[in-house]
Amino acid sequence: MRKYLLDLTVSSNEKLSGNYILMKLTSEEKLPEMLPGQFAEVRVDGSPSTFLRRPISIHYVDRNTNELWFLIQLVGDGTRKLADLKKGDLLNVMLPLGNSFSMPTTEQKELLLVGGGVGTAPMLMLGSVLKNLGFEPTFLLGARSKKDLLQLDKFEAYGNVFVTTEDATYGEKGFVTNHSILKQKKFDKIYTCGPTPMMKAVAAYASKNGIECEVSLENTMACGIGACLCCVTDTKEGHKCVCSDGPVFNIKDLKWQI
């Protein structure tokens, strides 16, 4: 897939509950094709401690308004500088990068999309694509607390949404893997993105129950396009680049101890 280097215009940059922003970007040209699971490398200007670009997942692409959405957690100076951008400002992005979640096979009907924290970001794009293909995906979203649950109404447009919070402020208490939906329903394929311990727990559940599972990794990156080999993960075929061979991997190819 062709990659682009673009200056996109911020059309809105909204502060969400907790420590998150929802940034929408547009362009006079039609935005390039992007697939669920892909990401952008964003250049951060005006932050002396931010030297490299920042990888950010494609949260959603609204073709009606020609807008790209990013859901960003403010963790350091780079992401905080992104929060300062105002409507009309330009943001330099390289995109679309990486592979994508693979579409279900004809036998795979019940799909579970598990997101933890800001790892829910790519799940909205994935849910919208699956819904368009005629699936009714199930979302299972985990967060520390109610204020860390993002975009719930958006997810509800594409499927059933189940929630866990660690402090029981919303949905069921605990981690995603404790949710009762996993006992009630049999899933054919699981997609997940979030903190590594969560993804490992989901992968362990999937492999115990013989369910195909794809995870989206977030290794630290320098180039984002497979040139520097900084972002590797250990697979059964040796080191692979998370930025170009991933970020999505099938758990059967990873060397995770689960």
Binding site: S49, F51, C230
Partner: protein, 304 residues
């Protein structure tokens, strides 16, 4: 348009901009963003006689105005390069150079011999300065005797343009450059990365799996510039300058300090079109100052 052509030994380049090994893949990774044939030379990834997995993750730490890496020469080996990668890139209309690394003199020689047989590779860059491998690598580049032994052995086996890449992790880089020149190198390139480290205080652990790594990016430029200037004064062979070049002004500074060509590394990660911009920017500088050729500014630093 000024004349941007420059020479490194027998190697003729359409402009003085090359890409630094390990930061530009095999060039193909960048071809959606730029016409890579417009770059003066592409130096591909560090290549060794056998496949190397490199070091475990994490291999990268961002630092103020720079980064540390500890990739450790991950590559599929020279035979894989010749069979699978060379056929795809050999017809690119620019100079393709291979960065040759090894753990023993015999490894370096064997790899260089195999690359010598490839018609479309006019030169190699001998990496005697990688700080991220346990044996060999930088060890060869940190003493005059070992640098001389590996360069003279490769010189006997390799007839095309031989560039030797120097380590900045030495007390006197000009001495090493002189030893390498005496051993028959056609050119020296400098600098490779500077040994550094990063600590995660919260976790009380090093950031890199290897504890130490190699520093590159804007923060190393003043050190690189000083070393290029010292080496260019000491040797007669052409010098290739690199380390922290982020824009055309940086590149011109290296040319003034005595470099006949420059390489761009880490800056490619921030702007994948930077090589083309720097080549254009060097031309703008020459025109603005009324120089007809890039050769008119090489080593023209006025210190008096």
């Amino acid at each position: 348009m000024a004349d941007l052509t420059t020479n490194i030994g027998k190697l003729v380049m359409k402009n003085p901009v090359m890409t630094a090994s390990g930061t530009f893949g095999y060039g193909e990774e960048f071809s959606d963003f730029i016409d890579i044939s417009k770059i003066g030379g592409i130096i591909v990834k560090g290549t060794t006689i056998k496949h190397r997995e490199g070091n475990p993750y994490p291999r990268m730490a961002e630092t103020p105005s720079g980064m540390l890496n500890a990739v450790g020469l991950q590559n599929k080996g020279v035979d894989y390069f010749i069979e699978h990668i060379y056929p795809r890139i050999k017809d690119t209309d620019t100079n393709i150079l291979v960065n040759v690394s090894g753990s023993t003199v015999a490894d370096y020689v064997a790899t260089a011999e195999k690359i010598a047989a490839l018609d479309h590779i006019p030169a190699i860059e001998l990496n005697i300065s990688c700080p991220n491998v346990k044996e060999g690598g930088m060890a060869f580049g940190t003493s005059c005797a070992s640098a001389e032994s590996v360069v003279s052995a490769v010189r006997k086996a390799y007839g095309k343009t031989l560039i030797v890449k120097l380590s900045p992790n030495v007390t006197n880089i000009a001495e090493i450059a002189l030893a390498v020149e005496a051993a028959g190198a056609d050119s020296v390139s400098l600098i490779n990365t500077i040994m550094g480290m990063a600590i995660n205080a919260e976790k009380r652990r090093p950031v890199l799996s290897t504890v130490t790594g190699g520093l590159s990016g804007a923060c190393v430029k003043p050190i690189a510039l000083r070393m290029v200037w010292q080496v260019a004064k000491a040797v007669k062979i052409p010098v290739v300058g690199l380390g922290g070049i982020m824009n055309a002004t940086d590149a011109v500074e290296f040319l003034l300090a005595g470099a006949s060509a420059i390489e761009i590394g880490t800056a490619n990660f921030i702007d994948p079109t930077i090589t083309i911009k720097v080549a254009e920017g060097i031309n703008d500088y020459l025109e603005r100052h009324g120089f007809k050729s890039v050769k008119d500014i090489i080593g023209q630093l006025e210190t008096a």
